[in-house]
């Protein structure tokens, strides 16, 4: 029990940016759902089960048009395809997480991924519980935020315009943190350049999957360039 409380205490500060971001994005989502006639119960159910912001926003469209489950399924797969990369990135860290593993994978949203991939648990803290609480706290913020939004309905009156930038800021800060380590720069550049090129070619609604393909191709073709020296010697990759 003591080690769990310890892990929770250590995990909490890492989640504060997400607390801010998810509270307001969640409120915005709840308000949007209630404006379409979906009350707090539906909103909380969605946030609990799906726990994927962009997919949930899109789902509002599926709920307000003709019933088309196949379309809903395919669009969800496309929007969330980036999660495949998160999984591959986290194979090692989550490999031996035991009974916590299913929940860790379930909760691997953009924000949780950005924290867990860039943060090592401090030595005196159990890493699995540390990652578990980061995931759980983020999940809780999202559910509570959307509940608040649904409850407030359209009563809210202060200007929150631009507040969703907090999540962009979070990703930018993580990007800078990774950039400081010279070894990480090449793949980071590949990610940004491939995405921008695909954004220009395919447009804002369709660029994610082409970007993922482009990133994979570039990283595969030039993999000798990108392999870190320490892995090379350890694994004997040639």
């Amino acid at each position: 029990m003591k080690e769990k409380i310890m892990a929770l205490k250590v995990a909490f500060p890492y989640t504060i940016p997400v607390l801010t971001g998810f509270t307001f994005l969640g409120i915005a989502y709840g308000i949007l759902m209630s404006s379409k006639g979906y009350g707090a119960g539906w909103t909380v159910l969605m946030s609990l089960m799906v726990f994927a912001g962009s997919a949930q926003y899109i789902t509002i469209n599926f709920l307000t048009t003709i019933f088309n489950p196949i379309n809903a399924f395919l669009i969800t797969l496309m929007i969330n395809a980036r999660h495949l990369f998160y999984g591959i990135s986290m194979l090692d860290k989550y490999n031996d997480s035991g009974k916590l593993k299913p929940y860790l994978i379930f909760g691997l949203c953009d924000e949780t991924f950005s924290i867990v991939c860039s943060t090592e648990a401090p030595k005196d803290v159990d890493k699995d519980w540390f990652y578990f609480f980061i995931t759980l706290l983020n999940h809780a913020y999202w559910v509570l935020g959307s509940f608040l939004g649904a409850w407030l309905g359209s009563k809210i009156s202060f200007n929150t315009k631009g507040l969703d930038f907090v999540l962009t800021a979070l990703f930018v800060v993580i990007f800078i943190g990774q950039w400081k380590n010279k070894e990480n720069r090449k793949p980071a550049i590949v990610g940004v350049v491939c995405s921008i090129i695909c954004l220009i070619i395919f447009g804002q609604d369709n660029f994610i999957i082409p970007s993922m393909a482009a990133i994979l191709i570039v990283l595969t073709i030039w993999r000798k360039e990108f392999i870190k020296k320490d892995i090379l010697t350890k694994e004997g990759i040639q």
Partner: protein, 111 residues
């Protein structure tokens, strides 16, 4: 509500299923034999950095360089975050200040 309750529940289940497929698939595909697959290991090493890059671009995808603000609020806020983060190295400060600057810019300067 356009759909019936049953239809709504079905849609929620389907969206949940779709999302979970994308999250669980890598762990199912590369279970066990992963440790001796150097290519997957290599991807696990480099993808986190490439993916954060993709995520930053994804967040900025709606920036429109043809509207009167020309993407200035985003650019200014990000430059501020970079300077602040190199200077103070305080994650919460960089994120908080960057967001406040952006909000002021979109609410009062580039309206």
């Amino acid at each position: 509500m356009t759909l019936t309750s049953t239809q709504t529940i079905l849609i929620i289940c389907i969206v949940t299923l779709g999302t979970m497929i994308t999250r669980f698939l890598p762990f199912i595909l590369f279970k066990g034999n992963k440790s001796n697959n150097t290519y997957i290991k290599y991807l696990g090493q480099v993808l986190p950095y490439a993916t954060i890059g993709l995520l930053v671009v994804y967040c900025l995808r709606n920036v429109n360089f043809k509207t009167p603000s020309y993407g200035f609020p985003e650019a200014i806020a990000i430059v501020c975050i970079i300077i602040l983060h190199y200077w103070k190295e305080n994650t919460l400060l960089s994120i908080g200040a960057g967001t406040v600057i952006y909000m002021i810019l979109v609410q009062f300067v580039f309206v």
